[in-house]
């Protein structure tokens, strides 16, 4: 079992730079993201897909010694990142390491941005490929969690600001 790694010093530093209210909302959104990952049921064993992916995706680590269908592939690729004012304030990955920000994700100043998703090849499982139909798992999970977002935000804000007079 790999040791869980906490946020880096830089993330702690970034948290100190943003306002309490921003952090409270960010914590709530972070909880929403974790909830979506907890609810999502990605198809097991993406290696079936990876084997046909060809040399382009060989960089992706596939441990051939692991038996297939053990839930160790895509089901453990989920992660959440939260940015406030363009600065990372929270990050979490199911495998314990800090996830990398997707290149296409925009984290503008003056906004709180949460990125919730799965690593490769989650995208192809979600929307399908030429030879395999779509098996959407993230969108339904988001739909399931969406009605509870106000509750999660309330919890986050209460935890951080509840004791204030």
């Amino acid at each position: 079992m790999a040791k869980l790694r906490g946020p880096s010093k830089r993330v702690v530093l970034n948290r100190a730079a943003v306002t309490e209210l921003g952090l409270a909302v960010a914590d709530g959104i972070f909880e929403v993201g974790q909830q979506i990952i907890a609810v999502a049921r990605p198809p097991d064993d993406p290696r079936v897909l990876l084997r046909s992916a060809g040399p382009k995706h060989r960089w992706y680590h596939v441990d051939e010694s692991e038996p297939e269908g053990t839930g160790k592939g895509l089901p453990l690729q989920g992660g959440v990142l939260v940015y406030v004012d363009g600065q990372k304030v929270a990050g979490w990955h199911q495998r314990g390491k800090q996830p990398k920000k997707p290149r296409a994700a925009k984290t503008p100043k003056g906004a709180i941005v949460a990125i919730v998703g799965y690593g490769f090849p989650g995208r192809f499982a979600e929307i399908g490929t030429a030879n395999s139909p779509a098996q959407p798992f993230l969108s339904p999970a988001a739909d399931q969690v969406t009605p509870a977002i106000p509750g999660h935000l309330r919890t986050g804000v209460r935890k951080r600001l509840g004791s204030r007079p």
Binding site: L49, K56, G128, T129, A134, S139, D143
Partner: protein, 159 residues
């Protein structure tokens, strides 16, 4: 609320027909707009391939579009649903995939109220993600994908 949900009313086939009927989309893909997955090869009684399907190898690519459902729960109180449909546009080149995606987006984005013969009413449909450039992991065929959200009725609308 369950009595307000008509199981016959499905957004995906209607969007599929709208894309197939769009002159720009059909000029690129013909009638190769599919639901769920691409069409397989046409086989004769002996199981021999008479006509190849949509999925072909490098050098033999054909453009086609695949729509698949991403979900979208019905509204808690009002008989409507915000259906999310993923649209994958496969082209022979990156440029053709991009042109095809733009054509599909233009055919559906911001399109206002319309009703269909089965009573389905779509209030509006929008391209909510914009295109994402990619290539298929199986065949390396260039593709662009985007998601359309359509606010639709869950019970027949009579106009």
């Amino acid at each position: 609320m369950n009595e307000f949900i008509d199981p016959e009313l499905d957004v995906l086939p209607k969007l599929l027909i709208e894309l197939r009927d769009d002159p720009v989309v059909s000029s690129i893909v013909g009638d190769r707009v599919r639901g769920k997955e691409p069409e397989g090869p046409l086989l004769n009684a002996a199981g021999e391939e008479v006509e190849p399907g949509d999925v072909r190898g490098p050098g033999e690519y054909v453009p086609f579009v695949v729509l698949s459902r991403l979900g979208g729960p019905p509204h808690a109180r009002v008989p409507i649903v915000t259906a999310r449909i993923s649209i994958r546009c496969y082209g022979r080149s990156d440029r053709e995939a991009a042109v095809l995606r733009n054509a599909c987006s233009r055919a559906l984005h911001g399109k206002g109220p319309r009703t269909f013969a089965n009573g389905l009413g779509i209030y509006v449909s929008h391209d909510v993600t914009g295109g994402q450039q990619d290539s298929d992991p199986d065949t390396s065929q260039p593709l662009e994908s985007f998601v359309v959200e359509a606010v639709a009725s869950t019970q027949p609308v009579v106009v």
